[in-house]
Symmetry: C2
Subunit: 338 residues, 2 copies
Amino acid sequence: MNIGEIARQAGVSRSTVSYVLSGRRTVSEPTRRRVQQVIDELDYRPNASARALKEGRTRVLGLVIPPAAQRLTDMQLGFVASVVEAAAEADLDVLLSPSGGDHDRSFERMITGRRVDGVILMEIRLEDARVARLQQTRLPFVTIGRTAHADDTCWVDVDYATLIGRCVHHLADLGHRHVALVNRSAELVAAGYGPGHRALAGFNTAVAERGLSGTDVCCADDAAAGEQCVQRLLVTRPEVTAIATLNEAALPGIGRGLERAGRTVPKDFSIAGVAARHWAEDFRPPLTSADVPATQMGAHAVELLRERIATPDTSPRHLLLSPPISLRASTGPVPPAR
Amino acid sequence: MNIGEIARQAGVSRSTVSYVLSGRRTVSEPTRRRVQQVIDELDYRPNASARALKEGRTRVLGLVIPPAAQRLTDMQLGFVASVVEAAAEADLDVLLSPSGGDHDRSFERMITGRRVDGVILMEIRLEDARVARLQQTRLPFVTIGRTAHADDTCWVDVDYATLIGRCVHHLADLGHRHVALVNRSAELVAAGYGPGHRALAGFNTAVAERGLSGTDVCCADDAAAGEQCVQRLLVTRPEVTAIATLNEAALPGIGRGLERAGRTVPKDFSIAGVAARHWAEDFRPPLTSADVPATQMGAHAVELLRERIATPDTSPRHLLLSPPISLRASTGPVPPAR
DNA sequence: TTGTACGCGTTATCAT
DNA sequence: ATGATAACGCGTACAA
């Protein structure tokens, strides 16, 4: 089923059919109707490859996700879903590439085969080979998260440094003097994962500003690790009365660990964090946290990318989000010294 | 950068370059090397649209996911990740469409625009408009899950009826006489979501076979709903001593609800389920469950779809999985009557 | 090894 | 003001 077939059955030329479709030229009403009827009857839709070939654009966005080996986190999933949704809203499709480093076949296919009009990258490292690779090409791209030197790229990110800092200040206001940061996994931090580094920086700054004693520990992204981590922490740093964390997947374990150790939240121990809302709300008691707006971030990323595709030569735009902390029930005044 | 440019710089014809690329004709070694060198220097990669147009296939698979409105479950995410991974393994790309019903723009684009060589559908209803729509077209497709009359389609599914039945038999073997099924959400079941219906059927059959008393309740897919659900259940059916469930997202809440009610698992109360392994392992105590192999299912779906694309006219293959129940720590002998 | 037709939709240009 | 013709985008594969 192609445009020539429609033209034949409607008794017009191929270009007329094309003009009926695009509306780029006026076509006499009777002709238009006749052509449209044949189109409807045969349920004709132009071949996307032919159109892309001619127009020089595919109406497809690429989305690079972390390889499935490391199970995607809830937040990453939120990004994927919201990107796809926002793209669909704009009649754009999304092509997925599961790629960790560069030199990845699917990544290379995506960016060199002119399959996509632009790329959204997530799970960005401070030094990221994929970003470097994309900068070599002329392909517009936007990152969710940012590299260490991201002034000349387009990105949307959460300001983990500020948010973790705010958590610390909130805890300090409540009288806590000994606080701990439960960071993301050691591997992730070692690999230069931005949020981990920036959260630590923000933590250290705030701790210094308030004259607190601060400890930071890495913790794998799952409940079991969270539980172990808390157990160890309570032994090695018994003076700690509050935790700040960006490790949402560890939260259930952190809660369990405290419970097992006989600490009641928030009476004996406080927790504040940066997490997706449903993690915060599912925590018992509900977690005081800055809720990461994953859904909006995906939508923003698509918006920035569309701009960039439309006008590639304007200076890159950024978006650094710091959602306010929602006071819930997991933080309270420091308990009297034992 | 196109094939003509490469040909010019290498001093050969376009077809020669094409043959060097595809290897479908032997090219003299010196020529081949010269061409290859130019290709490498210019980092040339054929235009995917042009190739798709000529070859009549895109090397892209479509994956239809539920719209993001209802947050994707962990298991759905597992499917997506494993499909993408398996496709990448076979040098295929994946195009995503977030579509609930039919008549969805992105769904229609995908299947009528010849953008994809085949489609994988998930979150299948017993009566599914998208399946009907796909059957009208000639496009090969595979479903994860199956409709009520799925003999002539290609699918891979988990045998929820059998697995929930096995849970019930296991609980009956331990002496439990009053068991409850915690199903997926009422909306999902009302919409004809297959697993919900089949789990209920399997539950009823097994309950009847063993002469037990059975109750079934629907429960939204989150922890809070699970907690409420258990609270209500313990009040309305105080005789119940065991739960079978396929609602993994409700598990943390179910655990909390039992704890609040003073029931210890597995001493006072048993739970068995069908869930992704990490949900089972994160449960306290670890959940006795049939672990849904989401990862393999995605890979199987891709495999079946590739077969179907290669040989569209063979009779459709199915794959009904019933993974064994892993005994963990959440089931035990029925407690003595109070 | 090369020339060339083909796949299909778009659009500039020419004809009516 | 409409409709028709033809070139173009790019890679593939058959005929020469």
